[in-house]
Structure formats: structure tokens, C-alpha cells
């Protein structure tokens, strides 16, 4: 556990030193989405049970948790390819799972903080939004799942440019398709089935249910947790392989 804390300590020092840059990145995208889709488009959505801003905000919370916890992959790749600090960790007497758990937690911290910033934006814009323990659970689970995914992809990338491509193929489509901005009802059945399997869909559903005082969809929570475990396993495998 002490070694996990060492990984966390390192990442948290980095987070502390770059906090204002991170904060800016946590604010800008959700703010733009909120102004463009939430404010400008307020009340225009057909078929939603709540005000569009109240629909959008939980989606943005889930999306921010996903995007910024996945962002740890960039930090890892900069460490590997540019600063070469990965070798320093590889020669320390720590097991692969310690590294994976430490980095997953570090990524999750970033994702949770980014999600909190979006919630604060919701407060500023006076969006109808419930702060419940379920919401915290949904955000933490989402952040952990995408952080674990980030470790796998970071280790699979051969160059830093690869990481950008991986993000484009995995994160960007989910951000726009998985019920963040619009309900899934508009999609054809076959496409909706595919989208519902993507991890951001259950994440957005969890956050949305928690934010609107609805019962949590526990099956979806279990599904998301299972995906997280698969990502953790994959991360362990690729970290082991990354030795050479």
C-alpha cells in the first residue's frame, strides 16, 4: 500500500504544480458545451423529462470524469517517451499491480476533480441538480473505470502521437454518442444497442439518475464495474509487457 501511495504522491505533486493549468482545462470545455448546448438551446429539446440544462449537466459531469481521468494516459506517455521516468519506476521493487492501482487512482483523482468543477458550474448556472452520495459513487466509479482504460492505452501506444489517435477513436465518439448531449431514443435500435454497451452510457445514466433523485440503475453500475475490472486486468497485462 505504501508503494501505491508513492505513485499517488508523485502524481499529486505533479497535479499540485500544474493545478491552474488543469483547472483551466477542467473549466473551459464543459463551460463551452454548457453555454452552447445548455444555455443557447435551453428548453428546445423534445422528449426530455426535465429541463435541457438539467439533462445536460449530468452528461457533462460523466463526460468530464471520463475525459480527465483518461488524461492520465497523456501524463504516463510523457513520462515514458519524453522524461523517461517510467524506467525509474520499473526498477523499483514494486509489483505491476501497485503501479496500475497507483496510476488508476491518480487518474481518478483528476477525473473526480474535473467532475466537481462541472458540478460547480451547474451551481453557478442554477441548474436543478441533486448532490447525493449516489452521485459521488457514480462519479468515482466512472473516473476509476476510464483511468484504468487509460493505463492500458498508454502502454499500448508506441509514440505520443499514437495516444492522440487512441483518444480520437475511443474517447471522442463516446463523448458525443453516449447520451451526454441527447437521449439515446433518437438512434435506431441497432445503434442504440451498441452505444448502450459503451462504458460512458451506463456512466451517464448513473450520474443522471443520482442527480435527479431517481433510483440508481444497479445493473448498469455492476456492468460498469465489470468493465472497469476488465480494463484493470488489461492494464496489468500491458504493463507487464511494457518491460521491453
Amino acid at each position: 500500500m505504501q508503494a501505491v501511495m508513492a505513485i499517488l504522491l508523485r502524481e499529486n505533486i505533479i497535479l499540485k504544480r500544474k493545478f491552474w493549468k488543469y483547472l483551466a482545462s477542467w473549466v473551459v470545455s464543459p463551460l463551452l458545451y454548457f453555454v452552447a448546448f445548455g444555455w443557447a438551446g435551453r428548453g428546445r429539446m423534445v422528449g426530455a423529462e426535465v429541463d435541457y440544462a438539467a439533462f445536460l449537466l449530468p452528461g457533462l459531469v460523466a463526460m468530464s470524469a471520463m475525459t480527465h481521468s483518461f488524461g492520465i494516459s497523456t501524463e504516463i506517455n510523457i513520462s515514458r517517451f519524453y522524461w523517461k521516468t517510467f524506467d525509474e519506476i520499473r526498477t523499483a521493487p514494486i509489483s505491476d499491480w501497485v503501479y496500475v492501482v497507483g496510476e488508476t487512482m491518480s487518474g481518478a483523482v483528476r477525473g473526480i476533480l474535473a467532475a466537481c468543477v462541472v458540478v460547480l458550474l451547474g451551481l453557478i448556472f442554477r441548474v436543478n441538480f441533486a448532490f447525493t452520495p449516489s452521485l459521488l459513487f457514480a462519479v468515482v466509479l466512472t473516473a476509476l473505470v476510464f483511468s484504468a482504460l487509460a493505463i492500458s492505452t498508454a502502454m499500448l501506444a508506441k509514440t505520443h502521437a499514437d495516444q492522440g489517435m487512441i483518444s480520437s477513436f475511443i474517447i471522442t465518439p463516446m463523448a458525443f454518442l453516449c447520451g451526454t448531449f441527447f437521449p439515446l431514443g433518437a438512434y435506431p435500435d441497432w445503434l442504440r444497442g451498441v452505444i448502450q454497451c459503451l462504458p460512458l452510457s451506463p456512466a451517464a445514466n448513473l450520474v443522471r439518475a443520482a442527480a435527479h433523485h431517481q433510483p440508481l440503475p444497479w445493473l448498469q453500475a455492476l456492468y460498469l464495474a465489470a468493465i472497469g475490472l476488465v480494463f484493470l486486468g488489461a492494464a496489468m497485462a500491458v504493463v507487464r509487457r511494457a518491460k521491453d
Partner: protein, 302 residues
Amino acid sequence: MIVLDNLVKRFGAITAVDHLSLHLEKGKIHGLLGPNGAGKTTLVRMMSTLTRPTAGKASVAGCDVERDAMGVKRSIGVVHQTLNFDPELTAEEALVVHGRLHGMKGGHLDQRVHEMLTFAGLEKEAKRLVPNFSGGMKRRLSIARAMLHEPEVILLDEPSVGLDAHARRNVWDLVRNLRDAGRTLVLTTHYMEEAQALSDRVVIVDHGKVIGDGSPEALIAEAGRVAVDHPGPSGTLTRFFESREEAAHFVASLEEPATVRAANLEDVFLKITGRHVNPKEQEGAAANASRHGHTAARKHHS
């Protein structure tokens, strides 16, 4: 302390280390000397568990690098060729993180961090961010970091590459201090001067094989203590002699000017392989010798 037995590492069609066997003793500085691409870094990476051997066995401090990688990691400190520090960390933080990764904590860790910063002459720089350090300071910090958890074996991969002469001497002093403190050191270098100045034992590596092994003095004596550089049909030629008298005899028979000098490890490599360890540096040295060495040789023989 370190046993390499028939070690092989292949990267696709390239054989970086080719059935190499070595037994490195405790408490000495072992210099692995060879040109770039000789396989030195691959050897160090295998000793430090970063790279898996394709075949053969390697053990460090009694621990097999494959079966007991964790034991190896507990026994080694590594000074990587690249100055690998997180730019957001201060010198002190870099050491604290390293210490925690090695299971150190509390007052003991604080004390060791202070001791190592003092050892590296960086105690006043503890709170400075590492990117603000010079190359020499980063290298000293890298050695301090490798020493922090008190490993038995220290692996230094090209520890003075990119440093100026003053910083290089500082690093050499640190390395000697580590040997005097009873550590076992393995040092890769392509600087023959560094290998000669620091090593108790030099292992010359080329194309992944050991082509020379012994103390610097013994290797030089084997090649011939005195070297004569003289012009040949396709550039500078070097001949080796047991004594200055024999060399003087040879120079007297030449029509062209020649340089007589003490042989060094570069010459040992040259004699074994017919090539220089550092061809570019050698070209520069030869040009210098032909500009300044001519008179010296003539004076010597007049």
C-alpha cells in the same frame, strides 16, 4: 556479486548481446567499455530487470533477474543514461518519491534524503525544481537517488555523457566514493579515459561479446605500453611496443613524422578490433597529433 552466464539478447534480427558470460566481484568498479551499439546498455538493462534476456542466465546479488526480479530490484540502484526526472518535482521530492517506492518512510527516509543531497553536494538545492539544474547537478542527483535506498550494486549507464570536464570529474569523485564505501559498481562508458580513470576491472565489449577483460594496466600491457602513431597509405596507423626504446627505434626508421605516446584503452580496443571506440573523437585527436605531435616525436628522437 553479478554472474552473467551465456547471456543472449536479440531484438528481431539484431543480436545485441551474444552468448556473453561474466563474473563481476563485490566491492569493485567494473567498467564496460565499448563503442555505441556494442550492447553495454542492453547488458545493464538486463541486469536491472528492464529487459528480459532471450537466452542464458543472469543473477545480481544472488537473485536471478527473471525468477527473482523483485530481489534484484531491492539490491540495485540504477543511474540511467537519460537524466530521467519529473520536471515538476524538486530535488528533495524526487528523492522522497524514490525512497517511498523502495519502501522507505518517516525519519529514516528524511535522514537519508538529507545525507544523499549532502553526498551529491546539492543540500542547498533541495527545494529547487530539477529542470533548473545543470547537467552535472542532475547527474549527481541521479547518483544520489540510486544510492538512497543503500543498494549493494550500482549500475551506471554512461554516467558522464554530455558533461563538461569539471562536472565529469565531480561525477568520478562520487563514483570513487561509492566504491570506497564498499559498493559494487558497473559502469558503462564509451569514454576510454573514464574507463581507465575509474575502473578496477575493464570489460571491453564489441558486437555483444567480451573481447577484452582485465585491469586497465594489464590490458594496456598486453597490447603494448607505448604507441606510435604515424601516417600510412590510408590514414594514421598505430604500432605498439613494449618500451620507449623499441618505439624510438621504429620511429627512427620512418621517413614521415610520428607521435610517440603512452598506450591507453582506446589502443587496446584498436589492437583487438582494428577500429577505434570513438572514431570521430579519434579523428580529431589524430588531427591534433599531426599538428602538434610531430615536433614532440622529432625532439624525442633527436
